[in-house]
């Protein structure tokens, strides 16, 4: 099921936040979306998930424009994990995950033992089964984020869209979470901050800069020293090992000679 964007534009006032972006998400791939703050990643994600109608351009799923699909049909196919969605309700961990079944339930198909099984499995997949009865408010940021992923998995989508899912997680959970997502039989689109993580987990990487898609390709093709300098304004060296994996080492910005050294 191909998710495809053609000439997407989103504006805030006159300024184009997303400026004529076209891209195809291939079935089964893990597509990373990287770019500096304010480059339009979150807006692009909202349009890809069908939550925001583009000012111009279209997003299609298997050839059908998202705008012509019902919210429920869309939710059967695409799940979204937002940046830090929070609640004031006294939900338990399991109740939060059970919300993922919402698009599959109706008066004619009420909650069933199959829904229980799916929620249980999603909880187990993110290693949260032992905290099922804990109140949401008592959980850590990392635990909450894992529950958001579990909720998205319980939705049984074909495509999982994540907006910086690893913010506020420690390194073990950052890598564990991306590995978990990667191991699912899903098409994934994820906005990622950490370029090394993008290199580690993505099949392809799309680079956003000032609202435009400036590069799209495999990590080794995309993450070059020159592009890191141009787009992210950092000095870094990129190593590619024998297996083709790519690692980025950042360098401290070359300091101007300090005044007192110059004086002495």
């Amino acid at each position: 099921m191909m998710l495809s964007a053609q000439d997407l534009v989103w504006r805030a006032g006159r300024r184009a936040i997303v400026d004529r972006v076209s891209l195809d998400v291939r079935p089964g791939e893990f597509l990373g979306l990287v770019g500096p703050n304010g480059s339009g990643k979150t807006s692009l994600i909202a349009m890809l998930a069908g939550l925001r109608a583009p000012a111009s351009g279209t997003v299609t799923l298997a050839g059908k424009p998202l705008g012509r699909m019902s919210r429920r049909d869309l939710a059967h196919r695409i799940a979204l994990v937002e940046q830090q969605a929070e609640t004031g309700e006294r939900l338990t961990a399991r109740e939060a995950v059970a919300l993922g079944r919402t698009p599959h339930l109706s008066a004619l198909s009420p909650w069933s033992s199959r829904d229980d099984a799916i929620v249980d499995k999603a909880m187990a997949d993110v290693d949260m089964a032992h905290l099922a009865s804990r109140s949401w408010q008592t959980l850590s940021g990392g635990e909450r984020q894992r529950l958001h992923i579990a909720r998205a998995l319980a939705q049984e989508p074909r495509i999982l869209i994540l907006d910086e899912p690893t913010n506020h997680l420690d390194i073990e959970h950052q890598i564990g979470l991306l590995d978990l997502v990667r191991s699912q039989d899903l098409t994934v689109v994820a906005a990622l901050h950490d370029l090394n993580h993008a290199a580690m987990f993505c099949d392809r990487i799309a680079v956003m800069q000032a609202g435009r898609l400036v590069a799209l390709g495999t990590p080794a093709d995309i993450l070059t020293r020159r592009r890191l300098a141009e787009v992210f304004r950092v000095d870094a060296s990129v190593e590619i090992d024998a297996a083709g994996a790519c690692f980025i080492r950042y360098r401290r910005p070359a300091a101007m000679p300090r005044a007192r050294h110059a004086a002495s």
């Binding site: 998930a49 019902s70 937002e82 939900l91 338990t92 939060a96 919402t102």
Partner: protein, 357 residues
């Protein structure tokens, strides 16, 4: 007695295996029906002259299926024409206000939202004042109709303002504040400029809620509105659950957010406007009952909505009984009773609420 911590007890209930679910449903329905019947019977029995519950039961039997019990016609008249009608309207009003409180608190993600946040009570008071003091409708329009029209007018203005201000929960709340302030000011303006002391006092009583004028025609208006509102809310229970993490998250869970907002807010406005036009704007029920119900049955709307409706109905009947009996020979406005009981109850809930984060 082994004491289970409350949260895990809630979970056990929410994870009821499917085989148990219909049983729980039936049991819950029976408990609800029994509670409501008991409250109604009490509401009809207690008053300035106490009437035995037995007489109440016989009256109902006489009137509903002509049982032919021999009763004092005066007792029977008081029970049937005044007290049962009054208790039924109180129940509908309490249930409706509590339902609207639940729905608006969930949709607007604001624990302080109540049915009057949409400007409805302010508009109703302006409408009532326009009829009672300015003589709008030259005698052909009743106070209730004026209040109803005022409520819908205020809601319409608030809705337009909210649509223009960005549609989000914050826009709705701010638009509601603006609308309420405007219409409250209009009411005060008319009252201070034109009302006689008696009229001002009468309006104040009306604003604080008054069930003493309630008769059967009011019942035949209140019951369908309350039941219809309950059904509409229940049909959206899962959608309301999905708003737990905000409207964006609800949308990604397949909820047609705009449609749900429109349907539920319009339903709440209609329910509230109807109840306010019958009994005046009774405070606190729509704010406090939803919080109390959450403590009892949890936050999932499939149970929270009926529980709130039941607690609201029962609470309102009890408040009405208290308002009639607490000072012999004098009927207190029911809004005074609900707030006198409601405010301390709300304080208790705030103190015992688990601290978020």
């Amino acid at each position: 007695m082994t004491s289970l911590p409350l949260p895990s007890a809630e979970v056990d209930a929410s994870q009821a295996r499917p085989a148990l679910a219909p049983l729980r449903f039936v049991a819950g329905g029976l408990v609800a029906a029994a509670t409501l019947a008991a409250a109604l019977a009490l509401g009809a029995a207690v008053g300035e002259t106490s009437i035995p519950v037995e007489t109440v039961a016989k009256t109902v039997a006489n009137r509903l299926w002509g049982a032919g019990h021999a009763l004092d016609p005066i007792d029977e008249g008081i029970v049937w024409n005044y007290r049962i009608a009054r208790a039924l309207v109180a129940a509908c009003c309490g249930a409706s206000l509590a339902l609207c409180g639940v729905v608006l608190q969930s949709l607007l993600r604001n624990a302080l939202a109540d049915p009057y946040i949409l400007g409805i009570s302010a508009g109703a008071s302006s409408g009532a004042v326009a009829v009672a003091i300015l003589g709008l409708g030259s005698g052909f329009v009743s106070l209730s109709l004026g209040a109803f029209a005022g409520a819908l007018l205020a809601f319409g203005l608030v809705a337009l303002l909210a649509l223009g201000a960005g549609r989000g929960p914050a826009a709705i709340i701010l638009a509601g504040i603006a609308g309420s302030q405007l219409f409250n000011a209009l009411t005060s303006f008319v009252v201070t400029k034109s009302a006689t002391a008696d009229q001002a006092r009468g309006i104040m009583f009306w604003l604080l809620g008054n069930l003493s004028g309630v008769r059967w025609p009011d019942v035949s208006l209140a019951v369908p509105v309350a039941l219809g509102g309950l059904l509409i809310c229940l049909a959206h229970a899962r959608a309301l659950d999905a708003f737990a993490f905000g409207s964006r998250s609800a949308a990604s869970l397949g909820v047609p957010v705009k449609r749900v907002y429109a349907v539920l807010i319009a339903a709440c406005a209609f329910m509230t406007a109807t109840m306010v036009s019958i009994v005046g704007s009774i405070g606190f029920v729509g704010l406090v009952i939803p919080h109390a119900a959450r403590l009892v049955v949890g936050v999932r709307h499939g149970r929270l909505l009926p529980a709130s409706a039941l607690i609201g109905a029962t609470f309102m009947i009890a408040a009405d009984v208290l308002s009639r009996t607490v000072i012999p020979g004098q009927v207190l406005p029911i809004g005074v009773m609900t707030a006198l009981v409601g405010a301390p109850a709300f304080a208790m809930i705030l103190i015992h609420r688990p601290v978020a984060r």
